[in-house]
């Protein structure tokens, strides 16, 4: 950090400042106690508190993530249901095809190409920076593509499986219409694995967000992370990792609770 030619005295001073001269255990303990006090250290680059840097940018990232997830669920879900109901039709192929392509294309490259086509050449949408609603569109769609395709694919598979279940047959024998069966019965039962997948997708969504934010110049935690990487700002990276993991654990916890709400069998099993 100081450069290879720094005098020993300066190195010692920095070590003392960073607390590196204390023993490992002492460092760990002081880290944890700082953590509890909401302190995650200062950024090496910017010389200001990591927490404040992250917290100013976090809302931007969260907005982007939320929008992307909404797009993914609201388009992926129905697409998957239609694909399951009309197997081997054009919708089915569309969903599978989109999923495959989405899983194969590197997301940062997609972002670059999308900017090239839609921003530079067609001038339809701005290329990021956060500037009103239209600037949300490109990055959110880019981010949403893969989870949308995965949700569609999973929904199709799950609904198809649920449709093979005896209670669906029984429901048909009771005279219920297809619409009612899908929404009243199948969907409820199919939502369980889909929710599991969504919670797993949050992880890859965060990775994707880093790439997308960077490519689109979005003022969020992702860009912050990439800059930190490129400048070897270890403390900042560490702080982001900690926040990221905490957030992930929290979301997983919420999903577990949601699971219990939806499936009474799980509720009873845990009593």
């Amino acid at each position: 950090m100081l450069g290879p030619t720094a005098p020993k005295a300066q190195i010692h001073l920095l070590e003392h400042q960073l607390g590196l001269d204390k023993s490992f255990i002492q460092q760990y303990i002081s880290y944890l106690s700082n953590l509890f006090h909401g302190q995650l250290g200062n950024s090496i680059q910017f010389e200001s508190s990591n927490v404040s840097m992250i917290s100013t940018r976090l809302p931007n990232t969260l907005e982007l993530l939320a929008l992307a997830m909404m797009i993914a669920i609201s388009i992926g879900g129905p697409l998957g249901i239609i694909a399951a109901l009309k197997r081997n039709s054009i919708w089915d192929r569309l969903a599978s095809g989109a999923a495959l392509v989405g899983q194969s294309v590197p997301i940062f490259w997609l972002g670059i190409m999308v900017i090239l086509v839609f921003s530079v050449h067609l001038r339809l949408f701005p290329a990021g920076q956060k500037n009103g609603f239209s600037s949300f569109v490109l990055p959110a769609v880019c981010l949403a593509l893969l989870p949308m395709a995965q949700i569609a694919r999973l929904m199709r598979a799950t609904i198809s499986e649920v449709f093979e279940e005896p209670y669906i047959d029984a429901a048909k024998a009771r005279g219920l219409s297809t619409k009612r069966i899908v929404f009243g019965h199948a969907l409820r039962n199919a939502s369980l694995p889909v929710i599991t997948i969504i919670s797993l997708q949050i992880g890859s969504l965060l990775s994707g967000a880093i790439a997308v934010e960077y490519v689109f110049g979005w003022p969020g935690v992702g860009t912050l992370a990439v800059n930190a990487i490129q400048f070897h700002d270890y403390t900042l990276i560490q702080a982001i990792v900690v926040i990221g993991v905490l957030g992930f654990v929290f979301i997983n916890f919420c999903v577990d609770v949601l699971y219990g709400i939806i499936d009474p069998r799980i509720r009873d099993a845990t009593k």
Binding site: A170, K172, G184, P264
Partner: protein
């Protein structure tokens, strides 16, 4: 004036190994308040027959010949599929594994309510509760409130079966189809369910189609019984006739294979196994396992003979004719 009239119904399947005939030329008529049993081993086509009647055939199956009328209205034929307008309302179905025919994520009362709302919209919200209680009482369930508010996994197997039957009959259908609904049960529960079913039809307004592989069980419950083998109906008639003086060698062999208390010795099975039937089958399906077969049985296609409104058979050399000719069986 029969409630359900099946004439020459034939259903084929497209499988990866070719076309297969699942049901071949079935003739059956069910009158009001009648209990008909359909007996056959697995693969004989009896479940497909039941599903065909409610329009629940798998996608790779289709009706290639014959027709089905309910209340004098043709509901199933080539290019006609009106079964979905009456199922739930006029035909109720009880499935084999009752536990799995209930949605595990919905409470019992929600599932019963749903059926009523869809099929009997005229019943008002206030009456629904009373109707649900009444039906559960008919099913001899002791604690209707607790059962109504439970999820399927919280009930015992027997209770689940009763709930399944309740859902099938709550709309007061004129025909109830019970597809092997006792097969997965232990003997005691089986007896309870059979008792329930018998109660159901005692009013004379509901007919019951009871599908099973258990010939004795069918004979206890049913008025008439139809025996199926390898996609065909081989015999039909009043229970006492079919059991005591069977007309078809398969029926006879089936009866003989049932172990009884007072006879000792090795079990009498039927050697060989049931064939899969292609579309171009020649001769009698049972000929290769039949002790009475003649060369002609393998070559000539045998058609259905109706001896009366209630009986019929499909055999070149029916046993009763043989015994009438005084040949030792």
């Amino acid at each position: 004036m029969s409630l359900l009239e099946i004439k020459g119904l034939t259903v084929d399947a497209a499988t990866s190994t070719g076309q297969q005939r699942i049901i071949d030329d079935i003739h059956l008529s069910i009158g009001k308040g009648e209990i008909i049993g359909i007996v056959g081993e697995s693969g004989s086509g009896k479940t497909t027959l039941a599903r065909a009647l409610v329009g629940l055939l798998d996608k790779n199956l289709r009706v290639s010949a014959g027709e089905c009328s309910f209340d004098d209205e043709v509901i199933i034929a080539d290019k006609v599929d009106l079964a979905n307008t009456i199922r739930g309302k006029k035909i109720g179905m009880v499935f084999q594994d009752a536990g799995r025919s209930l949605n595990p994520l919905m409470k019992v009362k929600a599932q019963i309510k749903e059926v009523l709302r869809v099929n009997r919209p005229e019943i008002t919200k206030d009456d629904i509760k009373a109707v649900m209680h009444e039906i559960l009482q008919r099913m001899e369930i002791d604690d209707p409130d607790r059962v109504l508010n439970s999820f399927p996994h919280q009930l015992s197997g027997g209770q689940r079966q009763r709930v399944a039957i309740a859902i099938a009959i709550v709309t007061s259908p004129s025909l109830v189809i019970a597809d092997e609904c006792t097969t997965a049960l232990d003997v005691t529960t089986q007896a309870e369910v059979v008792h329930l079913l018998r109660e159901l039809v005692s009013d004379g307004k509901t007919s019951l189609l009871f599908i099973t592989h258990d010939l004795l069980l069918a004979s206890e419950l049913c008025d008439r019984v139809m025996v199926m083998y390898a996609s065909e109906a081989v015999e039909i008639g009043p229970v006492s006739d079919v059991l005591e003086i069977p007309n078809h060698p398969y029926t006879k062999a089936l009866i003989a294979s049932v172990p009884s208390w007072d006879v000792s010795g090795p079990l009498k099975g039927i050697p060989g196994s049931a064939p899969k039937i292609g579309l171009e089958n020649v001769g009698c399906n049972f000929a290769d396992r039949c002790s009475y077969s003649e060369p002609g049985c393998f070559v000539e296609n045998v058609s259905w003979t109706s001896t009366s409104q209630m009986s019929g058979f499909r055999c070149r050399i029916p046993l009763r004719k043989l015994s009438n000719d005084d040949i030792q069986n």
